[in-house]
């Protein structure tokens, strides 16, 4: 695809030909054309102001193989640069103040205009979390989940916010222009109104209703799609995203790989990578990566999410009829809300928890990951910490997210940590276990329930939840050690010792944080925010560089955490482990992991049990029930997930056996 860079005046003969073809110009001397300009492909065009027109030699290939000759037909063009082999046809009102890249196609569009001083959605303030304001994030093209998170959540560091605002202002300034852009190869058709909208290369905009003050980021390898009936105002839509099905967006950021459609409406919200939003409504939400809401009557409001799944009719309140909609919720990664679940903000839910029922009491279960949180008839939250650790759903989610990363192309703005078990979640389990032990020791057996940060818990389950967490903590720590030593076995004792030592660049923090989907030691976050406040990180590119380095260093930091936590949890330093200890650790890992996977299988089997068969075999006999179930749902033994989990069990057996054999072959005498 080429683009002319030399333009000249039309000849008198060309002007006459154009005139005969229904063309006119305010001032023909302001119409410049590229070498090789073809008058035959410009018909019924009114030129206003200064217009540059490229060469028209080829055609535009449309979906289905249809090819149309490039050119300008039936249009009013004002102050535009038209690239080579652009196809513009049937423009109802006009196209004004646009730079249109080569091979772009604009057809059956009403008004397409850029007004002076446009910023194309950049600079729009989004009142996230607190609908009444105070946590505003300002839109700009390159906005990432990490940057937005700090801007929104860390308001307790005003100097940091001031510096982030300075970085933002620079980015917003870059976007300002009196001329809009349509990237090379973009396709825009049947859209009545496009005002102050930048359109990236290869974007597809088909039958949108109205697009005002926004940017559609797009590229050849990561095209974005805006379709049928979409109304968007004050927005940025990132690469690989699709916004379709009459979605209504007002003051919204749609991140890379997001899918929004089926009449979803969103206002004052940020949706980062790979979110899916259909049918329902969002207001003032910070939807971190992989936030998913698919159903009608689902309202997500004033809340922080990531890896979230909303059941049908899930909703929340941020207003208690006092000082306005000022309350906010924090649902940590992996949370699921059951159908018609309700929460009254403020509430905070720990990672990978499941919320069921109508919660009318405020609670904070952030220290208790993988919890079952069910509202009783009185609206109180009843909690079972750790219940969702060994469940098929949790394991399936962990497997599916990385495979569902729809971000194409090399540029990925949001840093996403996919690990279900990490120092972030396992650290919470360690803390939770300690709280549960203390409560168990200090609570008399006659007590039926205990209260933890607004949630109720059956006393008898204090021990059960400890057991859930113990399994996961040990599985994680031992698994990490096994994996590390396994890789070092070829290096003999020296290699193993090196593997068990600390990494020079690893940073240890007991507490880890989840910064908009990226996990990191708290110390890393402090170092980053200190560097911003101290003026060492002064622009957005430098910010991304620092965040990227933290992301790259995840494994080293994780190892620092595993090493220290192992010492505290098992009471022994890794350096003191002998060959036998390592073999024993591997055996403990085998036992724990297999017990875990077997529990997952038991959980999966419930989907094939008697109760799951309810309603099958309708109008038939008892035998028909089984056959109907078999035809529709298949057999437990044939289920893909079940097969994979069983294979996983075998792999663990084999892996540990091999490890023990290999480590036993290392000369004992050389081991201290």
């Amino acid at each position: 695809m080429s683009q002319s860079n030399s333009y000249g005046n039309l000849t008198q003969e060309q002007i006459e030909i154009l005139g005969r073809q229904g063309c006119s110009a305010q001032d023909w001397s302001q119409v410049k054309v590229a070498d090789g300009f073809n008058t035959a492909r410009v018909r019924n065009v009114q030129f206003l102001g200064r217009v540059h027109v490229g060469r028209f030699t080829g055609g535009i290939r449309l979906a289905g193989g249809l090819e149309k000759p490039s050119g300008i037909y039936n249009a009013t063009i004002a102050n535009c640069i038209i690239g080579d082999d652009v196809y513009i046809s049937n423009i109802g009102v006009h196209i004004a103040n646009y730079d249109i890249g080569p091979n772009a196609c604009i057809e059956n569009v009403g008004t397409m205009v850029t007004w002076p001083g446009a910023t194309f959605g950049n600079g729009v303030k989004i009142a996230v979390l607190n609908e009444a304001g105070g946590r505003e994030v300002i839109l700009f093209d390159e906005l990432s989940a990490q940057f937005a998170y700090l801007m929104c959540v860390h308001r307790y560091r005003p100097v940091l916010i001031e510096k982030l605002l300075e970085m933002t202002a620079k980015e917003v300034k870059k976007a300002g222009s009196d001329t809009g852009k349509v990237g090379a190869g973009a396709r825009i058709c049947s859209t009545p109104e496009i005002v102050d909208v930048n359109v990236g290369p290869y974007a597809v905009m088909k039958a949108a209703a109205s697009l005002v003050n926004g940017t559609v980021l797009s590229s050849a390898e990561a095209p974005s799609v805006i379709e049928s009936g979409v109304v968007a105002e004050d927005f940025i839509i990132a690469e690989s995203a699709s916004v379709t099905g009459s979605a209504h967006l007002k003051k919204v950021f749609v991140g890379q790989g997001c899918k929004v459609g089926s009449q979803f409406s969103a206002e004052s919200s940020l949706l980062f990578s790979n979110c899916e939003a259909f049918n329902g409504e969002a207001c003032s939400i910070f939807a971190g990566p992989y936030t998913v809401t698919h159903h009608k009557s689902t309202l997500l409001i004033a809340c922080l999410f990531s890896f979230y799944n909303a059941g049908s009719g899930a909703n929340q309140s941020n207003h208690m009829y006092k000082l306005g909609p000022v309350h906010e919720g924090k649902l940590e990664r992996g949370t699921k809300a059951g159908s018609f679940s309700y929460m009254m903000w403020p509430c905070r839910v720990g990672p990978f928890s499941v919320v069921l029922g109508k919660h009318t009491r405020i609670f904070d279960t952030s220290d208790f990951p993988f919890a079952h949180l069910e509202a009783g008839a009185d609206g109180k939250c009843s909690m079972i910490p750790g219940l969702y650790l060994a469940t098929a759903g949790t394991l399936r989610d962990a497997q599916k997210w990385p495979n569902r990363d729809r971000r194409k192309g090399s540029k990925k703005r949001d840093m996403i940590s996919f690990d279900t078990f990490s120092p972030y979640t396992v650290g919470k389990m360690v803390r939770a276990s300690s709280i549960l032990i203390d409560m168990q020791n200090s609570t008399d057996r006659s007590v039926e329930e205990v209260s933890i940060n607004g949630a109720q818990m059956k006393r008898v389950l204090l021990r059960t939840s400890q057991k859930f967490y113990r399994t996961a903590i040990e599985m994680y720590l031992l698994g990490k050690i096994l994996a590390r030593v396994e890789k070092a076995l070829n290096g003999g004792i020296k290699g193993i010792r090196k593997a068990l030592a600390a990494e020079a660049d690893g940073v240890f923090s007991r507490d880890w944080v989840d910064i908009g989907g990226q996990l990191m030691p708290k110390q890393r976050l402090h170092d980053l925010t200190d560097a911003i406040e101290g003026g060492e990180v002064t622009d957005f590119a430098a910010f991304c560089g620092e965040v990227g380095k933290i992301y790259e260093g995840f494994e080293k930091d994780e190892w620092a955490w595993v090493k220290e936590t192992y010492k505290e949890y098992f009471g022994r330093a890794l350096e003191s482990l002998t060959k036998d200890d390592l073999a024993e650790a591997a055996e403990s890992y085998r036992t724990t992991k297999i017990r875990f996977l077997k529990q997952v299988l038991i959980d999966a089997e419930k989907d094939f049990g008697g109760l799951s068969r309810t309603g099958f075999g309708q109008d038939g006999s008892a035998e028909d029930l089984d056959e109907d179930f078999r035809q529709v749902r298949g057999l437990y033994d044939d289920n893909k997930f079940v097969k994979e989990t069983r294979a996983n069990i075998k792999a663990v057996e084999q892996r540990v056996a091999e490890f023990k054999e290999r480590i036993s072959a290392i000369s004992w005498s050389k081991w201290r």
Binding site: H372, K458, V460, R463
Partner: protein
């Protein structure tokens, strides 16, 4: 109290049924109406009653 009686007592208390309804052949879910969460609580109660750990 023998083991069977203790089990019966725990089940009756936990599932809020009459001790007489808890029979050796009773199915927790089908006959005694235990739901998934109640099964977890039941196991926890057995563990506490008998000071054991159940998988």
């Amino acid at each position: 109290m023998d083991v069977e009686q203790r089990v019966r007592k725990v089940v009756a208390r936990q599932l809020k049924v009459d001790e007489k309804e808890v029979k050796l052949e009773s199915d927790f879910v089908r006959d005694l109406g235990a739901e998934s969460i109640q099964s977890i609580e039941l196991v926890a109660c057995f563990e506490e009653e008998f000071d054991i750990e159940m998988d």
